[in-house]
Symmetry: C3
Subunit: 473 residues, 3 copies
């Protein structure tokens, strides 16, 4: 029944003036048509009706669908839910809102919205609402801001849909022209894209250090003195692996900023573009930091449950038995006591500072603080946390780097491996405090150039230049 | 002095054209009157004046109130703060904004705004601002979005108030017609309505398991061997009760989704409505989950402080004494050591996964992730957490289900009771992975129906159909 | 080249009608000029171009800068980036947006925007965008709401910039007239201003209690019995200091509300202004509470790691040795066991309640709950937490207040000092529950006054009256 399919998706006021004075629009004169009767369609209809709009729904089975929709919505028959080019004349001059989602992330090629625009050149295609779930549409944006990403080639159609959006209680975000529609269609398909590298890095570090520690603490004792330390695998080996991952990841948060600063000092200008890998690393620092924090917290929990275990209790009782046999009333070793008191205390302080960093990474808290406060926490307190964590590891190591007995299979104690990167980062940061170095860097960031004849490379749009003041964060 | 009372609440521009071009509105031509001089009135006046509006305040004691208001606001005399029908002619054609709150939650009957509209049929009543506190009005919506819920029968008046709202820095949310005013008036009176069932459920489970454990661990030893285990009541019994509540509540998060899926398989269609209790249960899954997380964290803290207690130390010293008496140098029991190392490690992993779920439940984080990411965390990682927690309980139980000594008063060990629901949920979920079952369910959710002659029940407006893809979350 | 400098910053539509119908504005007819080519300028240009505006950038080195900007932006030559009065005729009638930031917090004196307005009296100066970082401009307000604070003397110019703001995806917040520009310019320069007093207070309390505890637990044993307790300094002394700070800070959260209530009872009216220090204290209660929570969490972590330490293990082994020497099979002391079980359990419950308070302080969670719910958590649950923490300290103290051996150097046990303020607060709160007192306070808050002839002081704009119902929070 072509006539039903000819019913326009958005009907304009009688007289059909294209210059809609959006703010003057009385919703009751705007009719919105929805093709399809799924969840999304139903939630959209409810919301539009509640905002005062007239809604017409096209369904292949109107008799059965009508009961699912609010009374005020009118459900009519639609022969097919597929839009074909034969509808082009009927939809000429109308605004088509494409709410579809793709099934896969597309890197290139026309998006759904662009294909729709090609089919209906006389209509105004607006891409939007595909990032909102039906549940959010229905419940309304009660918790937090609900942003709806829109783009369109036609400004009037986009204004109209933005108006609609606001009346429904959402915040429209203008993403530009229809060429942005591919990006919008990919948005709901991403699965934590910025977390991949940090997580893979953390996993790789975990596997490496777990094997390293197992060789040192389980394999070596077994092969040299036939001791069975397999029971250490679930908790003790894990507990010396997590802090390794945490400390290295934390150093990896501050390393790119230092590399960027030294690159600028080397080039003598701020106008050169950073390499792509450095740019991506700089963007993912927050994810590296949060992975580090998670590992640090797990290390804390594993450590705290060491005394609870049966193995610890049996060892304590055996030690007491030994003391009694030796007839020694006092087993106190002052150096061991101080080493543990100190590194525990420093470790807890490091964890406290890291948790402040983690809390200010929460989106709502990050929005409350201004740039100066955010930099103070992430940069100043961050370097304090890194220093504390490094000191914790150094005190934990104590003098074991100098005891040859600690070199199992000629492998250095794990804490030595772990300390390489953090100490390098801290030394690099201290180097930036040297007057001449710091002064030169500030000059460069204010625009000074070693040579005005240095030719810089044309930027492409994807590659950010890396904000020049990034090593402050 | 009837003339003062005749002063309109919102005065329009001279000439009084009803078609206000809202965006063109220069605030200085709009006069807003406020009846009353309390905190809210004062904060509202300050904010309106700061946004550039002219404000006239009606007070019974203008001489004393004038000092409390900003200079730009004009305070005049109002004989009474009660609006009576005699004012109807004076207020005809004006917009009345009702900011009142009720004293009790009303289920039905006319709301304050509707009563106001009945009294003043010639005026345009808009309900709004009653959910904002005076402090927020004054400080401004600095932290996070501040939504103001509005509703009105007249679109122009509503546009006007929405404009006012935006200029004051708030985000207006259009709730529809004045019939929504009852819902808006009830909004500030709720006290965590969606938390009642989960909290009552958690408390009931806590009381049940506490009594069960007390009977097993305190009463039974007392009655059989006259041991005094009363000291266990504050910490040890609590520590074996919290994990029971946590695990059962976690299973209750995933159970309704499974029930919904099996109902759809049973009916062979997705168009039937779920029972009311299932709908409410599906909506409250987040609250069940957060209660479970809180109990899990408390269990962790109680467990971690077990070795700290004097009772644990006395027991350890007594054990050492025993060892010395027996002359046994090594008290090591390999099986006990492995059991504890394993279930502790698995338990900490379960807690880590649960904390990821809890963090993504925070409103700001939930807004940052898209639907695919949210489902991945809440569904995939959630089932992993449930599996880990179940494994933790199974390893903790070890072989005690088969030792008759563990059946105090013929009551099974607590961990057996606790495992019933989680194992049922996990088995149910595995059943959905079976090819035939999973395929049929996907067909049903795409619209397939066992029989096209199944007559479905007309929905009423309150009952959601339950989003068909809910068992993914 | 004066002609280039004469290019207007915001060019209007041909015909230049000042009545811009903002909602009708097609971005393509608005030309925005940007002076300067730094990071901010570049990010601003990108965003404006993406939102559909025409952008002209003035640069001293257009040839080199053009590569840094998007294609659609036009980069022209600007002789100088300094705006001088010679430009006044060219900029007459245009809108100038001042995005500058100051270098220091200015308490008074003309702001940058006001100086600009003085230089260009014919132009319309709008202050805005100075609180947004270049990174946010470029990435867009994806996480959370991005508020842009604007102010201007001219309503049309302000509307225009607000429109621009919305199209770019931000939420404009109208701060009023240009006199607010000083406040806006100071906004990004603050470094946690509301946290200074609470942090200084916490540090002072920490230092005081640390010294007090050190004298009692390290100095006194050394001087009386030559015992070396120095090893206690890193962890044990810190662990008895943090709870002191936490409990006193928690009492300081609820004390100002009580002082305010009692002041109102004393005065017999609610119309008197509170002293300045009380107003500031009331505003900073959240910061006091969060400092208290942090100290409580650190105390918990330090306590939990007590059994892990070598010192604790050596002491345990020594004790076991002693037991064996004495030939005592059972070292159980029922009173000590019960004391520890009870105060640990109560302490964990107090920490649990405090964490609920901390979670509802997060901006996103605070926005989700309404006023009644927020007051329930912060006030009701808050007083429960304070009571629990006080009980925890009382049980910890047990009978040590009555043992003269505990009075080292005649100094009372620390827990006695700590309990003074919390007990005072709890007693004060109980006093408010007395029928006569509570009734009188409710009357006063509804407007009753002891004497209608009490003359109240004129308020100044900075001093809030303190919301009269504050002691509910």
């Amino acid at each position: 029944m072509p006539d039903d399919m000819a019913r326009p998706l958005i009907r304009e006021r009688a007289g059909g003036s294209r210059h809609l004075e959006a703010s003057m629009l009385e919703p009751s004169t705007l009719v919105i048509g929805i093709l399809g009767t799924g969840d999304f369609s139903r939630s959209l209809a409810r919301r539009l009706v509640a905002s005062g709009y007239q809604v017409v729904v096209g369904s292949r089975t109107p008799a059965r669908s009508v009961a699912l929709f609010p009374e005020e919505a009118e459900v009519t028959y639609a022969a097919t839910l597929t839009l074909t080019f034969t509808l082009a004349p009927a939809l000429a001059g109308k605004t088509l809102v494409d709410v579809s989602n793709g099934l896969q992330i597309k890197q290139e090629g026309p998006s759904n919205a662009q294909q729709l625009a090609d089919l209906f050149p006389e209509s105004y295609v607006v891409k939007g609402f595909n990032t909102i779930s039906a549940w959010t549409l229905q419940a309304g944006p009660r918790d937090g801001s609900r942003q709806v990403f829109l783009c369109s080639d036609d400004q009037n159609a986009k204004s109209l849909v933005m108006q609609l959006c606001r009346r429904m209680g959402f915040i429209p975000v203008d993403m530009g022209l229809l060429s942005s529609s591919l990006e919008i269609e990919n948005l709901p398909l991403y699965l934590f894209p910025s977390w991949r590298t940090p997580i893979i890095c953390a996993l790789a570090l975990f596997v490496f250090f777990y094997l390293y520690n197992s060789v040192r603490d389980v394999l070596h004792p077994y092969m040299t003195s036939n001791k069975n330390n397999l029971y250490k695998l679930p908790i003790e080996i894990v507990n010396v692996t997590f802090p390794c991952v945490a400390l290295v990841m934390l150093a990896l948060v501050y390393l790119p900023g230092l590399i960027a600063a030294f690159l600028q000092l080397w080039w003598g200008t701020k106008y050169n573009r950073f390499p792509n890998w450095l740019d991506h690393w700089l963007i993912q620092r927050k994810q590296f930091g949060l992975c580090s924090f998670l590992c640090a917290v797990l290390h804390a929990i594993y450590s705290l449950c060491l005394p609870m275990r049966k193995s610890a209790r049996f060892q304590l009782i055996n030690k007491a038995f030994e003391q009694v046999q030796l007839g020694r009333p006092d087993s106190w070793v002052e150096e061991e006591v101080w080493r543990m008191e100190l590194y525990l205390s420093v470790g807890i302080m490091a964890l406290g500072l890291l948790s402040l960093l983690a809390v200010t990474s929460l989106p709502s808290v990050a929005n409350t603080v201004n740039w100066r406060e955010f930099t103070f926490v992430q940069s100043t307190l961050g370097y304090c946390a890194l220093s504390m964590a490094t000191l914790h590891t150094l005190i934990f190591g104590w003098n074991r780097a100098f005891l040859s007995a600690q070199y199992h299979f000629y492998m250095p104690p794990t804490f030595l491996l772990v300390l390489i990167l953090p100490l390098a980062v801290l030394l690099g940061r201290l180097a930036l405090f040297l007057p001449c170095v710091g002064h030169r860097l500030r000059q460069i960031r204010r625009g000074w150039e070693k040579s005005r004849h240095i030719r810089f490379i044309l930027p492409d749009d994807d590659c950010r230049n890396g904000l020049e003041n990034v090593s402050n964060v």
